[in-house]
């Protein structure tokens, strides 16, 4: 199985998920996320990758009628973040997310990055300034925007906007960062930038990334999970998944015979 020296940061245990229309989108998924490693989720469209990812920050709670079954346990504190007694806002304070399409707020570059701090009630201007700079540097955007921090974020290019969203997610020091196809709306150069960024972030936090791009999964991730029709078909070291998968379905998908 998996070769690792890293502790588990979070793990889903026998996770089922039902959409409000009764559709069972996840079927008994048990899978670890290793600390300070990148885990990639691959699989054909509609297999439940986004659904699984969005369980980790309780995004599904925003829509009435969705329900979870099973657990997602976070370590080292052993909290089941799907527990009814756990406030989804607390979960989102620890686990942040970057979306498929850049979705900056209608605010300045600075205020976009400061948003997470503001909603946490941070008032100290120096502290916010420092965090914003640190996050923008972490997202490799600082040099491009340092002279126009107070411009509207919409004036940035698509790739810059996505890095801004990464900076926004970084500013609050999350333990885990979720990426849902973060480069699918970007050109190859912007994509390469984001991939490089993810590799750098690997030193700081745990990453779960959904991607349709096999090369991307192979390039950036340590572990890869292949999902199909709401089930986890195979989970292993990325190298093994791409060179010597143990399941035929995985191989077919990766070699393009299917999907």
């Amino acid at each position: 199985m998996v070769t690792t020296t890293s502790p588990i940061k979070a793990e889903s245990r026998d996770l089922n998920f039902y959409y409000s229309n009764g559709h069972k989108a996840l079927k008994g998924i048990t899978m670890p996320l290793y600390e300070k490693r990148i885990t990639a989720l691959i699989g054909p469209s509609g297999c439940g990758k986004s659904t699984f990812l969005r369980c980790f920050n309780r995004m599904h709670d925003l829509y009435p009628g969705n329900s979870y079954e099973g657990q997602i346990v976070m370590h080292p504190d052993n909290t089941n973040i799907l527990d009814n007694g756990v406030d989804p806002i607390e979960v989102r304070m620890r686990i942040s997310m970057v979306f498929q399409k850049p979705n900056p707020f209608p605010k300045s570059i600075y205020e976009n990055v400061a948003y997470g701090l503001r909603v946490r009630g941070e008032r100290n201007k120096r502290a916010v300034d420092d965090k914003v700079e640190e996050a923008l540097k972490g997202a490799a955007l600082w040099d491009e925007v340092k002279n126009r921090l107070h411009d509207l974020a919409f004036n940035l290019s698509g790739g810059q906007q996505q890095r801004l969203c990464i900076a926004r997610a970084l500013a609050t020091d999350p333990e885990i960062m979720l990426f849902d196809e973060p480069t699918s709306a970007l050109d190859p150069i912007a994509t390469a930038n984001i991939e490089e960024l993810m590799s750098e972030l690997r030193n700081k936090l745990t990453i779960l990334v959904v991607t349709h791009n096999m090369q991307q999964a192979a390039r950036v991730s340590d572990y890869t999970a292949y999902m199909y029709l709401g089930e986890l078909i195979e989970y292993d070291d990325t190298d093994r998944i791409f060179t010597n998968p143990s399941r035929k379905e995985t191989e077919d998908y990766i070699t393009g015979k299917f999907g």
Partner: protein, 313 residues
């Protein structure tokens, strides 16, 4: 570089599939013409109104100097000792409108935020039709409501409040305008893409923080449009003030006094039987012109603000 000899364009045969279909072409032109007529009718009406206003006002200003019109502090065109100072009507219009907007803008905005961001689907289905019903109530009803219910109620708090005053009708006008503001503002807020809200929630924001810090600024241009509509409604509203504010032109900004607005004056005179062409008759056009200019100024200011905040997503 080689110079090329210009060639005579060759007559390429047009494929029958690309050739003009005459019938379709004619039909399309006819439809276009009808649509243009419909659009033009609105424009033509507006132009006609402006022309008539200007024309009658011109005759008015042949008798009354513009200086007097703009500086005299009395408006008594129908009295023996006639004064033609528009200021008392303007002050009445501005005061009642300000009171109305003071009520309608906060409540309308809160209502829009509630309906768009907090209310469940079911609540919305119940509340919206009720609000729309409020729009359908004739303004005369609101006028009597102000005169016979709200003013007496206010008199319990302010015993010295006269029976005709600007406060009561101002408040009622505000209530009347709430649905306009809330429904236009709500539409603007609901048009904000879900992905933007998700971005906010994903940062750990609460519903309230998301509504106020992300959705409202994202919808700001539509919300300002709602305010412009509200202002136009307030400035142009007639019946409520005509009934409950007293029809006494009075240069004051004190809501506790009675006063007349431009519209109240117009309806008061128009209902009497002034001879065509008399100064009193022409004065309503001059007053109407001022009203139109005021509305225009508010609209332009609103558009400038909207431009400044124009959202893009």
């Amino acid at each position: 570089m080689t110079t090329q000899v210009l060639q005579k364009p060759i007559d390429l045969p047009i494929s029958p599939r690309l050739a003009k279909n005459v019938r379709r072409h004619v039909l399309e032109r006819v439809i276009e013409f009808i649509l243009m007529l419909a659009a033009l009718s609105a424009v033509a009406t507006t132009i006609a109104i402006v022309v008539i206003l200007l024309y009658e006002s011109l005759s008015f200003f042949e008798h009354v100097s513009i200086i007097d019109f703009l500086t005299d502090t009395q408006w008594t065109p129908l009295f023996e000792d006639a004064h033609y100072g528009i200021l008392p009507l303007v002050s009445g219009t501005l005061t009642t409108s300000a009171i109305a907007l003071g009520v309608a803008i906060p409540l309308g905005t809160i209502g829009a935020i509630y309906l768009s961001e907090f209310a469940s689907h079911r609540t919305r289905e119940i509340v919206k039709p009720i609000l729309e019903l409020l729009v359908g109530v004739p303004t005369v009803v609101f006028g009597y409501f102000a005169l016979l219910f709200v003013t007496p109620l206010l008199q319990m708090i302010f015993p010295e409040l006269p029976g005709f005053n600007m406060l009561g009708p101002g408040i009622v006008m505000g209530i009347m305008i709430i649905p306009y503001i809330s429904s236009v503002a709500e539409d603007a807020m609901r048009a904000v893409p879900m992905s933007m809200r998700e971005g906010s929630y994903a940062m750990g924001a609460t519903r309230f923080q998301t509504a106020v810090r992300v959705v409202t600024p994202a919808a700001i241009s539509g919300i300002i449009a709602a305010y412009i509509l509200g202002i136009s409604r307030a400035v142009g509203e007639t019946m409520v003030v005509a009934l409950a504010a007293g029809q006494q032109p009075n240069l004051t900004f004190n809501p506790m006094e009675s006063a007349a607005t431009i519209t109240a004056y117009i309806v008061q005179v128009a209902m009497g039987d002034l001879p065509h062409g008399s100064i009193g008759y022409q004065s309503i056009f001059a007053a109407g012109l001022v009203l139109m200019l005021m509305t225009l100024v508010f609209n332009i200011l609103g558009h400038i603000t909207r431009k400044k905040f124009r959202e893009t997503y």
